[in-house]
Amino acid sequence: MASSMRVVCPGCDEEFLVSPQFERLKIAAKCPFCEKEFPIEQSKKIVRPSPILLVK
């Protein structure tokens, strides 16, 4: 299973990984490409990890 969330930076449109803990604790994501900080809910796309990987 993937343990990371995937978000898309609203500044540069690059996709990167964020720990789900950040969403729970309401900590801003920081883009590693353009260094923009933003609340996770402002991400252009959010993909949350599945609790368990069942079928490949």
Binding site: A2, S3, S4, R6, L17, V47, R48, P49, S50, L53, V55, K56
Partner: protein, 490 residues
């Protein structure tokens, strides 16, 4: 068909290989003992991860006299040179082999006078198989075995359909050898049919040394009623030139551009000792009783090269493995249309393991690929299915995919009691010992080491940005002579 220099044969290939990749052709001028020294040199090269074609110029023949023939080995050891032979690339050579052999080309008959393989003709008591520099490769070999022999038969009815197979000749006497004709092979079937219907022996030819594409073409799996000379022409990319044999004339045609041709008859019922010898699984095969061939004639080029196969090395791996890669690709493609490539690594003797690379577009494709691949060849035992980002020519990277993308309880496919080969030491015989060839079975399977298909998320692999990887050249950071001295990883 054009001048002789345009014809595809072994020496034209060597000339082209030397021009394009001179570091991959090596000549050994020092006298070499046929007892084990050839193999010692080749094994040491293997261990140094170097796979050049090696030509040994100074040898003794099996008779003990200085050999009139140099010995060439490791012709298929470099995948790069195999790709050159098939006008392909290292990544695609198996796939291109498969495409080529599906475009058969009718052989071209040439007169004996123009056939290079007829430059020297020996018949009757002039024939002496011990004139060839046949090595003893490994410590428990039971005798001298000609390994580079492509044994060829023609059908017993119309006499126009040729079948070719790499089958060894164990030299017994100057004009007698046993032939590694296994029950169930096409050549065996022709032999059985001829003896049953006529009571006569079977005409057989063994040709040695040709363009590597022709040699690999002889390993194509086709039905018995398909002419393999035509398929070999497909592999070559041009019609195979053939010429009448000495013993049967136009009734049995032989490759005109081979280095050596041995013509003989396999008599009914006579058997001789064949084996014990090394095999591709890197173990010894025990001695068996096989049909004999009574040699009638030998013809060869004036400056013929004796082509030998480096048993248990990449030479033998690629010779059998590259033709198989294309067959597996074609079978998997029917089940998983987004298959990208297939590789049979030397770590599995290019027979037992297959790495199958797919572009995953839906769940279940990993298992589909495993099942499709396993049905192709009895020797295949383990299939590892990986994604497009995995380099299937790198064992370490494939194992990394297994380590990080698979689970034994969910991603393993096991099929018990599938037909296997006697060469697999773990295969178990059935309860019918008289079915010697077909009765070995073993559990086979595969591991799905792919990521889930999109849009299911998975972890993101680390990488250096592409533009930086393109920009950085090691030689700009580390001197070339220093770089060359850094030892390879063990």
């Amino acid at each position: 068909m054009g001048t002789r220099t345009e014809v595809k044969d072994l020496r034209r290939f060597l000339a082209e290989a030397k021009r394009r990749f001179p570091e991959e052709i090596v000549r050994v001028k020092r006298e070499v003992d046929l007892r084990f020294e050839i193999s010692a040199v080749l094994v040491k090269l293997d261990r140094a991860h170097k796979f050049p074609v090696v030509i040994f110029d100074k040898l003794q023949a099996a008779s003990g006299k200085p050999s009139a023939f140099p010995l060439l080995s490791n012709l298929f050891a470099s995948r790069n040179l195999c790709a050159l032979a098939l006008d392909s690339s290292v990544a695609r050579v198996g796939l291109d082999y498969d495409l080529r052999t599906q475009s058969a080309k009718t052989p071209l008959v040439v007169a004996k006078e123009t056939a290079p393989v007829k430059q020297v003709v020996k018949k009757g008591k002039e024939v002496n198989l011990f004139d060839f520099p046949v090595p003893l490769p490994y410590h428990m070999e039971g005798g001298r075995t000609i390994l580079g022999s492509v044994v060829t038969t023609v059908d017993n009815q119309a006499g126009t359909t040729y079948n070719c197979a790499y089958q060894t000749l164990r030299v017994l006497e100057p004009r007698k050898a046993t032939v590694g004709l296994g029950e169930g092979t096409h050549n065996w079937e022709r032999y059985r049919e001829r003896v049953e219907n006529t009571g006569e022996g079977l005409p057989v030819v063994a040709w040695i040394g040709h363009h590597p594409a022709a040699c690999m073409g002889a390993l194509t799996r086709v039905p018995i009623d398909v002419d393999e000379y035509s398929v070999i022409g497909g592999a070559l990319g041009e019609p195979l030139r053939v010429t009448p044999s000495e013993t049967w004339g136009e009734k049995f045609l032989v490759p005109a551009d081979a280095e050596i041709v041995i013509e003989g008859i396999i008599p009914p019922k006579e058997r001789g000792r064949h084996g014990l010898r090394a095999d591709y699984a890197r173990y010894y095969s025990p001695e068996t009783l096989r049909p004999v061939i009574n040699v009638q004639a030998i013809t060869y080029r004036r400056d013929a090269v004796y082509h030998d196969i480096h048993l248990g090395g990449r030479d033998q791996d690629h010779l059998g493995g590259i033709p198989l890669e294309g067959s597996i690709y074609r079978a998997v493609k029917q089940a998983v249309p987004t298959v990208k490539n297939v590789h049979l690594p030397s770590s599995g003797c290019s027979r037992f393991h297959a790495y199958v690379q797919i572009k995953k577009t839906s769940a279940g494709q990993g298992r589909e690929a495993i099942v499709a691949a396993l049905s192709v060849d009895r020797r295949l035992k383990h299939i590892v299915v990986v994604d497009e980002d995995i380099n299937i020519f790198d064992d370490a990277e494939v194992l990394w995919a297994v380590a990080t993308r698979s689970r034994w309880d969910r991603d393993l496919v096991v099929v018990p009691n599938m037909i296997s080969t006697t060469r697999d030491p773990t295969a178990y015989a059935s309860s019918s010992p008289e079915l010697a060839y077909h009765s070995y079975t073993v559990a086979k399977g595969g591991i799905d080491a792919t990521m889930p298909a999109p849009p299911e998320p998975f972890e993101i692999r680390i990488k250096v940005p592409d533009d930086v990887m393109r920009k950085v050249e090691l030689k700009d950071y580390i001197r070339s002579d220093t770089l060359a001295k850094i030892p390879l990883d063990a």
